[in-house]
Amino acid sequence: MSHAGKILKYELQNLLRSRWLLGTAVVLFGITEILFRFGGDPGRTIASLVNIVLVVVPLMSVVLGTVYFYNSREFNELLLAQPVNRTSIYLGKLIGFAGALCIAFLVGLTGPFLIHSYGLRAHVTELLTLLAIGCALIVIFVSLAFYAATRFEDRIKGLGMTLAVWFFLTVIWDGLILLYVHIFRQYPYEGGLLALVFLNPVDLGRINIMLQLDISALMGYTGAVFQKAFGTTRGLTLTVVAMIVYAMVPVLFGLRTFRRKDF
């Protein structure tokens, strides 16, 4: 096994026993369960979960990721003094942490669906899309958190930067989109709109889930444009490629900073 693989293994072992990870799974399980009690069927529960997954999951990832990386700084020093290269340590820790969070997310969210499995078969694609988008967002935002925690010595700065990016992508970006549509409403604005959606992993995730759900019919003409762009195999491929790129950017920046850093 490579050095990164060994670090990943112990990282998972450590994290899967931690209370906050268990807490994350329990909270997600609880929310999903409550939504089932109110809504009743899997389709509606998935629709209600969309915003939780798109907003809360990235928030959890940046906060937990930043705090965790800062807290493991002293142990990292001990690891860095071993005959292991820095890339293995960084990737081992990153994949371990993102993996542990994905496990908590998947267990927490899928649990209630297995309990209330009646009528689930019709919604399997929707659920899988939601889970895939959630995991992609976890990887992207954890990579961002690790980059910030490597880049800034000061915890407050690091956490502040990740929260600012989270706020920008989940809230301000949508405002920009509305502003864009408002300004260019007299013109054919679909191309720019698609580009704006594509440039933000959270929005990209949202559109992909929306199109799986029945409510996309309510989006009228815009919905048709999105359906044409994202509903095809080409659209799906583009989405997957874009998500991978969005994860690679913070990973590469983080790796570069970590390799040059003074501890």
Binding site: N71, R73, F75, L80, A81, P83, V84, D262, F263
Partner: protein
């Protein structure tokens, strides 16, 4: 064993190491003394590859270490603060390090045994006291019988008995031909353990030599007095 040539390092405007050149000889215990923020830890971290120097180079066994990591198989490191993954057990921490250094020389479990860490194997690291964690990282530093031991203020968190065991171990390894480099604030302890002394101030080595040299040069019999003499003498020169 280690040759340091014209090593400089700045953090922002602060010059932490200023053109440091030193030699550390095989089979000796060398102590780095100096006030707080004098550059002791930074010097040790440069040797470990934790800090990248701005200029100058470090050779270990005549090989430049810049940008390399394989050489660290020769090193054992005991950091100043011991914060370990809370939910791993003592046994798992040791197996992690053994996994990472698979193929390294046979495990030296003398400290592990004398500190009675064996019965704690199943305990989580987060539940242990600071002193016990310090014992663990001490045992880890010696575990792979490294040629070179780097100890950053090793005895600070250890109780008196653990400290005595530690000192015995350091001397024993020196007699086995290993090289030890340690930083410390405790002059008495340095006097007991070290053969060579390096006194650093403001990022520059003020004095480097054997214990006998430093004492004969200042005609003092105790190291703490001798150091005070050296520092005062240098102030007079500057004034």
């Amino acid at each position: 064993m280690i040759s340091i040539r014209h090593l400089s390092k700045s953090f922002g405007k602060l010059r932490v190491l200023d053109d440091v050149s030193l030699d550390i000889h095989r089979g000796t215990v060398t102590a780095i003394l100096g006030p707080n923020a004098s550059g002791k830890s930074t010097l040790l971290k440069c040797i470990l590859g934790l800090v990248n120097p701005d200029s100058g180079k470090i050779l270990i066994d005549n090989e430049a270490i810049a940008g390399r990591w394989h050489y660290r198989a020769k090193l054992g490191y005991m950091p100043q603060i011991a914060r370990l993954p809370e939910h791993l057990t003592v046994a798992e921490l040791f197996s992690l390090l053994r996994d990472l250094r698979a193929g390294d020389s046979d495990n030296d479990i003398e400290l592990f045994a004398r500190y009675e860490l064996g019965p704690m194997g199943a305990k989580h690291l987060g539940t242990l006291s600071g002193g016990t964690r310090q014992k663990i990282i001490a045992a880890v530093a010696f575990l792979f019988s490294p040629q070179l031991l780097i100890l950053d203020e090793p005895t600070v968190g250890l109780d008196p008995i653990a400290t005595t065991i530690f000192k015995d171990k350091v001397r024993k390894e020196r007699d086995n031909g290993r090289t030890v480099l340690l930083s410390s604030h405790l002059v008495n302890e340095v006097e007991e353990m070290a053969d060579h002394v390096i006194y650093i101030q403001d990022g520059k080595p003020f004095f480097a030599g054997t214990m006998a040299e430093i004492k004969s040069r200042t005609s003092e019999t105790r190291l703490d007095r001798a150091l005070v003499r050296i520092v005062e003498a240098s102030r007079e020169v500057r004034a």
